[in-house]
Chain length 234, copies 2
């Protein structure tokens, strides 16, 4: 799970907001929620999710992110909260010609159930990753997709996936000003049911810089090593 | 100059149309025009350009792509023809909620003037490439931009540029069904003032396949060779 932290409402109004939230009951369940799109919408949804968690401390009958029986129910619960926010704001946004474009990725694991990753659409419906489509992206996704399409598979190791994620996000940040560091990463090991590796990469982070520099040099060399078209040889 | 050949009006209506036109007066001037966006619009513009060239055979006072005094005037001429088509169709398209999204790239050279590349916007205005921004893209551009951003510079050789173009377009074709082979390439050598290398790459072209296979293998190796994050080492 990897996100950038840049939010823009026009190029003269760029701010830094984390787009990653983690909710866990250590040893029992762990969720990581990534958000994209309109910040006021995503913040409202997060507020509702966290209000429910607070309320459930008094009243265990309140539905929360942390007390559903399985992952799909948890996704439905988040989708329902997204619809609640939509109901509140959609009409006014429509009138202003602003689209309701907030997408979420929810990844994690519940007890001994399999780990899952879902993308939740602005309408509250959802899709999950699979062996054939092993990654999900939201937000400014096109720049960073080719490297994942070419290299990322369902058998890619966690450490390789971390490199690929950073390269994909760095490609996006280079091509689009609205995406930028700090990058936040959660590297979750299946069945650990706890957050061990939550890592924040600032622009000058030595690992991030090394990965990107090696990549840049490697790509130039790689293109150079491919034989030239015969007719274009000097 | 490089283009794909796929035109789609929905996934159930995908056809193959060349998006590259070449106009030359051998030894005097050479232009290559790439098109993107609504096919009926780009075809209309092309028709007007070619009608003018025909008419100028009878009446040399007719403005054409091939008789302007310099490149900028040529770009203005194309922009004017684009506006003519816009005037004809914009109202009907607006009513149907279809945006007038046709973009053009015009590259080439006139006599002993410097070679140039311009992007012409749907409104008929234009920008040109420069030392700092040495490439232009139109259409489905995001997937293929990172590799150009990382590797392509104003000093890249023609043969390297050809490889980079194929890799950029192949990245786009892999990530987006609406982009596909055959790819058409014009590799123009400055001051030649003629078309020597116009090359069509079908999906099974041996050079295209070799470039893409080497790239795929190289990328996997490159990611693999980058050191892992310490905390994720097994």
């Amino acid at each position: 799970m990897l996100s950038d932290s840049r939010t823009s409402a026009g190029v003269d109004n760029v701010t830094i907001h984390s787009k990653m939230r983690i909710y866990e009951v250590r040893g029992q369940r762990m969720f990581c929620l990534l958000t994209s799109g309109n910040l006021s919408i995503t913040q409202s949804v997060i507020s509702l999710l966290e209000r429910d968690i607070q309320e459930a401390k008094e009243d265990p009958n309140v539905d929360t992110l942390l007390n559903q029986t399985n992952f799909l129910e948890t996704v439905h619960y988040v989708g329902q909260r997204l619809r609640d926010v939509r109901r509140m704001h959609a009409e006014a946004l429509d009138r202003a010609g602003i689209s309701f474009n907030s997408n979420f990725i929810l990844g994690g694991q519940i007890e001994n159930q399999p780990p899952e990753i879902y993308q939740i659409y602005p309408e509250g419906n959802a899709i999950h990753a699979s062996t054939e489509s092993p990654f999900l992206q939201i937000g400014e996704l096109k720049y960073g997709k080719p490297i994942l399409d070419r290299v990322f598979t369902s058998t890619t190791s966690l450490a390789e996936a971390a490199k690929l994620g950073l390269l994909s996000l760095d490609a996006t940040a280079r091509s689009n000003l609205s995406v930028g560091t700090p990058f936040e990463m959660l590297a979750y090991r299946v069945d650990s049911l706890e957050v061990r590796h939550r890592i924040k990469f600032e622009a000058n982070d030595s690992y991030l810089r090394m990965v990107c520099d090696r990549w840049q040099e490697g790509l130039i060399q790689l293109v150079h090593d491919i034989p030239e078209l015969d007719v274009l040889k000097q």
